[in-house]
């Protein structure tokens, strides 16, 4: 699959939308996660949990639920809700491959998060679609070969006898 590169200016528009979503919903944090399970960016508070594990589980959970929807004859899935006692998670898809995941507690409500997250997703949808159009066109690789060689040496050091 093609590599996907995000530069600092790509994040500016994204940050604005995520920050506004946090402010309007009083949510704890918002996370953008690639469907492969990789964390793209986070806004808000998330220091008390393992963000890497969180991202992999959210992506798998979302994809599994999408498969469930297909089995039920739905063409696509709108959102996945994880309802906890103190913290809940609302996840929706944008640009077909990025999961926007809002973590909230009793200071917010599912209805409010759903409404605002839907609007934010529409805004980000166009941002990411433009970004994906650049895939394969961006200058991803000055020094990529050097990087690969150095990473290869680290792999040898880590797994060598």
């Amino acid at each position: 699959m093609p590599q996907w590169t995000l530069f600092e200016n790509d994040f500016r528009a994204i940050d604005q939308v995520l920050d506004a979503l946090l402010e309007k919903t009083n949510a704890l944090s918002v996370h953008l996660i690639d469907r492969s399970g990789q964390l793209i960016t986070t806004s808000g508070r998330s220091a008390d949990f393992d963000a890497t594990a969180f991202a992999s589980l959210v992506a798998a959970d979302f994809t599994a639920n999408a498969e469930v929807s297909q089995l039920l004859g739905e063409p696509s899935i709108e959102a996945v809700v994880n309802e906890g006692k103190s913290r809940s998670v609302y996840s929706c898809l944008l640009a077909d491959r990025v999961i926007m995941c809002t973590v909230f507690d009793r200071r917010s409500t599912l209805g409010l998060v759903r409404l605002r997250a839907g609007r934010a997703a529409k805004q980000l949808d166009s941002v990411f679609k433009k970004l994906f159009e650049k895939v394969g066109l961006v200058e991803a690789g000055r020094g990529t070969s050097d990087f690969a060689a150095a990473a290869g040496r680290e792999v040898d050091a880590l797994f060598g006898d």
């Binding site: 590599q3 990529t144 070969s145 792999v155």
Partner: protein, 231 residues
């Protein structure tokens, strides 16, 4: 799909261990988790049944450290091997950068190996990978359980599963034998592909400059890759 995040200064790669039920995919990750220093690996997550059969996937993140200013991570996943978890396997394959196919050397599992490989081919096509990307996807084969009595000869496994001669390793994952070698090979294949893609881009008309020649050996894959799946 490698994700290069310039803000977080991180590069992530996703590697999936695939193979028939009980072939040793989870054991591979457990032995790696045991072996790697704590600062180089994250938590091993297993979504398994009460009987320790993988229900959805296992996940182990490995941290190579900072290279060229970028924290480099490999995310290792396994799929559930049992036949009826077909859709779960497809979910795990999303966005993969490389595949380790773990084959079971037990004589009674030859057909299961072949079916699993065919199943994988079907999924990769279903995921919408263009033939060119499918052809270049890095692969490594691991012939596991070499210690079982009357283990299927490697030549026979190779002929059935790996006629394209992708890198291959014999292993006894339960003892940790061959586990690190397999991971090292797939990591290096994934990195070589990253370098070769940018080298290709550099040489293409109108392409953007890359960083010079790198390891550019294309991936060698099963016979069906890029052709009809499930052969």
């Amino acid at each position: 799909m490698a994700l290069i995040n310039h803000r977080a200064r991180e590069i992530h790669f996703k590697i999936v261990y695939y193979g028939p039920g009980l072939c040793g995919k989870t054991t591979n990750l457990k032995r790696l988790h045991d072996r790697l220093p704590a600062e180089r690996r994250g938590r091993l997550i297993s979504i398994a049944t009460d009987h320790e059969r993988t229900l959805f996937f296992d996940f182990l993140p490995i941290d190579l450290g900072e290279i060229g200013g970028f924290t480099t991570r490999f995310h290792l996943y396994t799929v559930p091997g049992q036949v009826y978890y077909r859709l779960s396997r497809r979910a795990v394959l999303q966005g993969l950068d490389g595949i380790v196919f773990v084959a079971d050397s037990h004589p009674a599992r030859e057909e299961a190996n072949r079916e699993s490989l065919a199943d994988l081919g079907t999924h990769l096509v279903t995921l919408g990978l263009p033939p060119e990307q499918l052809r270049r996807l890095p692969w490594v084969f691991q012939y596991n359980k070499r210690d079982v009595p009357a283990a299927v000869p490697v030549e026979r496994l190779r002929a059935a599963l790996n006629p394209g001669r992708a890198p291959e390793f014999e292993s006894v994952a339960s003892e940790g034998r061959g586990v690190a070698e397999t991971l090292r090979a797939i990591c290096k294949a994934v990195l070589a592909r990253l370098a070769s893609e940018n080298a290709t881009r550099e040489s293409a008309p109108g392409g953007t400059p890359a960083g010079g020649p790198g390891a550019t050996e294309p991936s060698r894959q099963p016979a069906w890759a890029g052709a009809a799946p499930g052969a």
